[in-house]
């Protein structure tokens, strides 16, 4: 019976519900691993959150327009990753675009003024950031960087690796829907993961079986508002400052959850036409739902003719 026999460890972190499911001969052993895993998640959360003054993110943002801030090797590697994602996505993946949240209030139901968006746009642009393997400087006061767009997926991979090193062969890490499979069930069965229906998020639109690797999803249903029947979601194009259109949700499976997350986020940012071809070109198993209800990708319930599902 899949799932029975794995020890479960739910907790809250990174702004959402998390769970570790670990197979181990004894609960005490699984608990020890879960504690180490949780500590690692907490370490990453407190180091990269915007909500703590002593986090590296807050220190970098507080120094915007001032002196360069020294960064530790892990942060430097994350900045390097963000830079690669920025290049490979044609500038769409941009960790300086978080400042737009100041002008978009999804609770208000009111669209922001174009002039406010224009003003904020001056503070956005990864190309403007001065960074190296030891320091980073945001040149304009008011500029901000935000690791929130990928640190959760990184944490999922880091925790999975930690669990493996501590001896766990079969299990799953789930941080708010970003997943990494440590190993299939002991009987070899894959873990069944449900993909949320973007228009009915409590229900699954499709169920995916995974033996290994990471899975991440991006969607317009997490934070949004409806204005005149049009949906405006939290995924903003860094160039225009306006929310993306075209795709309602994208899910990608990749050897690393970090890669899956970048792929799905960039696909959402590229919109219907380019997003779908971006996913096809990457070659990773994926699934997309468009705003008009159409679905596609490897995991789509009805496979399109000519597209092979491996």
């Amino acid at each position: 019976m899949p799932g029975a026999g794995a020890w479960r460890f739910p907790f809250r972190a990174m702004g959402g519900p998390c769970e570790l499911r670990l197979y181990a001969p004894e609960e005490a052993e699984a608990r020890r691993v879960a504690q180490a895993a949780q500590a690692e998640v907490m370490r990453l959360e407190s180091h990269y959150t915007r909500y703590r003054e002593d986090s590296i993110t807050s220190r970098i943002n507080a120094a915007a327009g001032g002196e360069p801030v020294p960064v530790d090797p892990e942060t430097a590697s994350l900045l390097e990753y963000a830079d690669t994602a920025h290049k490979q996505s044609g500038g769409l993946f941009d960790i300086t675009s978080g400042v737009f949240r100041r002008v978009w209030d999804f609770k208000s139901g009111v669209l922001p003024d174009q002039s406010e968006i224009e003003k904020t746009r001056q503070l956005v642009g990864w190309n403007k950031v001065e960074w190296s393997s030891t320091h980073i400087r945001l040149p304009l006061a008011g500029m901000q960087i935000d690791f929130g767009g990928f640190v959760k997926e990184y944490a999922v991979d880091a925790v999975a690796r930690l669990c493996r090193e501590l001896g766990i062969e079969h299990g799953m890490v789930d941080l708010g829907g970003d997943i990494h499979i440590i190993g299939p069930h002991p009987d070899g069965q894959p873990w069944q993961v449900g993909i949320r229906n973007p228009r009915d998020p409590e229900k699954a639109i499709v169920s995916i079986g995974l033996l290994s690797g990471g899975l991440a999803s991006s969607g317009d249903y997490e934070r949004y508002m409806l204005v005149d029947g049009q949906r405006y979601c939290h995924i903003l194009n860094p160039g225009t400052g306006w929310p993306v259109q075209g795709l309602a949700s994208v899910s990608v499976a990749a050897p690393l959850c970090l890669l899956a997350g970048t792929a799905s986020t960039v696909a959402m940012l590229k919109g219907r036409e380019e997003g779908v071809s971006w996913l096809r070109e990457l070659g990773l198993p994926h699934f997309w739902v468009a705003t008009d209800g159409q679905t596609g990708g490897d995991y789509a319930p009805a496979a399109d003719a000519g597209r092979s599902i491996s």
Binding site: P25, E26, A28, E29, R32, E40, L44, P73, E74, S77, L78, E80, Y81, D83, T84, A85, K87, Q88, S89, Y154, A155, D157, A158, R161, L162, E165, G167, E169, P190, I208, G209, L210, L211, S212, G213, A253, A254, P255, L256, L258, L259, T262, E281, L282, G283, L284, P285, D298, Y299, S308, I309, S310
Partner: protein, 402 residues
């Protein structure tokens, strides 16, 4: 459902992102070469080594009780700054007991061991400090050591470099070591031992190089070759040989060149939750001693952070060209030694070690039983040295990391 579409080259974007992801510490974890030390650790180990009494059938005089050694070891490893780590190893041992002195022929010509009359009591202190610097794909280390006993003092220095030769699956290591030793044997040049040297020196220079290769996600293999040259007083000042009815000082060549080739394998078996260790060493020197060492070990993980590791070691050596249990006439080159350590024999030892981890603490208890016999050697041996040793050793250790 498989992970990747088959027969499709990975996209440029995916390769670029994957490459970037690999430099993240959370993703790559520990590297094959040069693992940075991230935490301080302290280890203490106590060992008791006890040799079995010499059997009466092989005994011709002196004490039958052989060596007993108590050893205390302390090791501290800690990171230092961004890219350095430091290791300090301390060892203190106390030794007591009799040791083989010379061999004389018995009534039927069989060799009988005469042991030293007085029980030796000695203690030895040893310190070794090593500093290692880590670079992106390589590491370099420098070590300095000092060893002190009543009759012996040694200083040694070593340097080592290791390089990652590509995606951390192959590593190349090279090292150089030098040791300078001074002996001042007790009772040297006294009326009791007039021919025993009063002071002597020797030094050793060794160089080694090796490769480490990760074969797959569960197997690694390593092979290292070393060359050592010893120079100086290499004889044992406390031993004598029986030559044509007279006792003469143990006398060995004043140079010795040796090579050692060590190959080892580590293989993890997930279904058994254990790791297999195989180590083989080939040794050859210009004293015509050739030896083979084969060690097999299994490390079994058990519930509640226990680990049990049984292992077995087989050793076989040939004799030094100038060795004999006793001599009917002197050799033309003047060499003479009846030290069992230069005789032909084989040895088998069994070991068992148990480890338990509790939080940041770890405890271990180990036991080894070692027996040596001429019959165990690979090639047949005509005369067994009566001084071959059998011992039991137990070790107990405590570790903590911070």
């Amino acid at each position: 459902m498989s992970m990747q579409k088959k027969n499709k080259p990975a996209s440029k974007a995916l390769l670029a992102l994957t490459g970037s992801a690999l430099s993240l510490p959370g993703i790559s974890g520990k590297a094959a070469a040069a693992d940075p030390v991230t935490e301080t650790s302290i280890d203490y180990q106590y060992s008791n080594y006890r040799e079995e009494d010499l059997p009466s059938s092989k005994h011709a005089g002196g004490d039958v009780e052989r060596y007993e050694i108590d050893t205390h070891q302390l090791r501290v490893v800690r990171p230092w700054g961004d890219s350095y780590d430091v290791t300090v190893d301390l060892m203190y041992e106390t030794m007591s007991g009799a040791s083989p002195w010379f061999i004389m022929p018995g009534a039927n010509g069989e060799p009988l061991q005469v042991m030293s009359g007085a029980t030796i009591e000695d203690d030895r202190s040893d310190i070794l400090a090593k500093v290692r610097k880590l670079y992106d794909n390589s590491a370099a280390s420098l070590s300095l050591g000092y060893s002190d006993e009543d009759d012996y003092r040694a200083i040694n220095v070593g340097i080592e470099g290791e390089w990652d030769l590509g995606s951390k699956q192959r590593t190349f290591t090279v090292g150089l070591g030098y040791s300078d030793d001074e002996l001042e044997p007790t009772d040297g040049g006294t009326t009791l031992y007039p021919n025993r040297v009063t002071s002597a020196e020797k030094d050793s220079l060794s160089v080694y190089a090796g490769f480490t290769q990760v074969l797959n996600a569960r197997t690694t293999v390593q092979s290292t070759l070393s060359f050592t040259r010893h120079d100086g007083f290499l004889s044992d000042p406390y031993k004598e040989a029986f030559v044509a009815g007279n006792r003469v000082q143990d006398n060995r060549p004043d140079g010795r060149d040796a090579i050692a080739w060590l190959t080892r394998l580590r293989h993890f078996v997930p279904s058994a939750r254990g790791a297999l260790h195989v180590d083989y060493r080939y040794f050859d020197d210009d004293w015509e001693i050739e030896s083979h060492t084969l060690e097999l070990g299994w490390h079994q993980n058990l519930p509640a952070d226990w680990q049990l590791s049984p292992s077995v070691r087989y050793y076989s050596q040939s004799q030094a060209f100038f060795y004999a249990p006793y001599y009917n006439s002197a050799r033309s080159d003047g060499f003479a030694s009846s030290d069992y350590r230069l005789s032909p024999y084989g040895a088998l030892s069994y070991r068992l070690r148990a480890t338990k981890k509790i939080g940041t603490w770890a405890f271990h208890l180990g036991w080894e039983r070692y027996t040596s016999e001429a019959d165990l050697a690979i090639k047949s041996v005509r005369v067994e040295n009566p001084g071959l040793v059998e011992f039991n050793a137990i070790t107990f250790g405590i570790s903590r990391h911070f």
